[in-house]
Amino acid sequence: MTRFDEKFVHLCIGGDKKAQKQLFERVYPPMFRICMRYVSQHADAEDCLMLGFMKVFQNISKFNYTGDHSLFIWIRKIVVNESLMLIRQKQNLMFVVDDQSMDVPMQAEIINAIEAEELNYHIMKLPTGYRTVFNLNVIEGYDHKEIASLLNISEVTSRTQLAKAKSKLRVMISQTTKSYGEPGE
């Protein structure tokens, strides 16, 4: 998580263009990654990011500094909201009901063994509904009540979607580890 000291944050709040440009350049790559996890396309992610940064620089005077991570977390929230708005606009939020999903336990060893890029790749391969709930719950740290209000769904739907997303991810990861572990491949 990117850190910003108080002096730099106050420069940005005061409207210093150099500081704001530096902030934009430092924050752009991780924010692009976040957008990509939600919308899974470069063009959409860029649109989300530009809209998010516009909101950031319009409202940066209202931001209150509470710690080195506070600015990054604030920008992240804005970008996530913009991504969710784009998903709603494009009506991509489809909650797939898959009865064949199995509750396969995922061990910590398997997660540690897999690369971050590979894990990210598998998450992006999930259906939009699963992926959105998974991202919001596991990575952003929202609970099911918050997710339900954000996506305008019931808490039960959010829970089932998360369970199914996890089981599918386990299957996908287990398949890759199997393929890695199998001799001769």
């Binding site: 752009y28 991780p30 860029e46 516009m54 995922m106 910590a108 997660i111 971050a116 990575i139």
Partner: protein
């Protein structure tokens, strides 16, 4: 267990703070685009605000001009109404005057006998006088400016009944008895007493003229 699993996944994903492979965006161009969009938004916001202010100002001007126009158009009507009302023919008033004069004529004919008896004690009636100025006597008909009261009728009857000779005699007699007239009779020449009165402010400068123009019969009576 589940929390540990979530934490491990989140840490792994959050560690990705670089751009994906094969994607190299032009950050300078994106920053310039962002700045231009911000400016455009500011301009559009200001333009919108200015236009609304202009529209409000135009509406205010229209409203004020309308009020001024209405007030200007309504003024002449009232003026005309005011000017026309006094110039209306005063026929009813004339009629009233005629009626009153008729009444006066009837009253005079009825009271002739009474007046003859009262002729001797005229001086007592004259004390209840009304200014004679209000009544104008002509040869043919009497024009009464104000409707006469009973007192005025009595005084007028007295004036009519008195003969010219008697009036001359009386006038001569009263003038002899009037002290003020004796002082003011020579209007052109000012005596020492008259000038002293002017200085004290007891007499007005045109007193002599007024006194000379008036029909001073009753005045003299009062003084007497």
């Amino acid at each position: 267990m589940e929390n540990l699993e979530n934490k491990l996944i989140a840490d792994k994903i959050n560690s990705l703070d670089t751009l994906p492979d094969g994607y190299v965006p032009n950050l300078e161009a994106k920053w310039a685009l962002l700045q231009s969009k911000e400016k455009n938004e500011k301009i559009s916001f200001l333009w919108g605000r200015k236009t609304w202010m202009k529209i409000a100002a135009c509406l205010l001007i229209l409203l004020l001009s309308g009020i001024v126009w209405i007030s200007k158009t309504s003024q002449p009507k009232s003026e005309i109404a005011n000017s026309t009302s006094p110039s209306k023919p005063s026929l009813p008033k004339v009629e009233k005057v005629v009626n009153s004069s008729e009444k006066f004529a009837t009253m005079t004919s009825e009271n002739k006998s009474i007046d003859k008896s009262k002729n001797k004690s005229r001086s007592t009636i004259v004390t209840n006088e009304v200014p004679v100025k209000e009544v104008l006597h002509t040869d043919k008909e009497e024009i009464v400016l104000n409707p006469p009261t009973i007192d005025t009728i009595i005084t007028l009857q007295e004036v009519n009944l008195a003969s010219v000779e008697n009036s001359k005699l009386k006038k001569a007699r009263y003038t002899q008895l009037d002290f003020e007239d004796a002082i003011l009779q020579p209007a052109t020449k000012t005596t020492f007493a008259q000038s002293f009165q002017f200085r004290l402010g007891l007499k007005s400068s045109n007193y002599g003229e007024q006194n000379s123009n008036e029909n001073s019969v009753l005045k003299l009576k009062r003084n007497f």
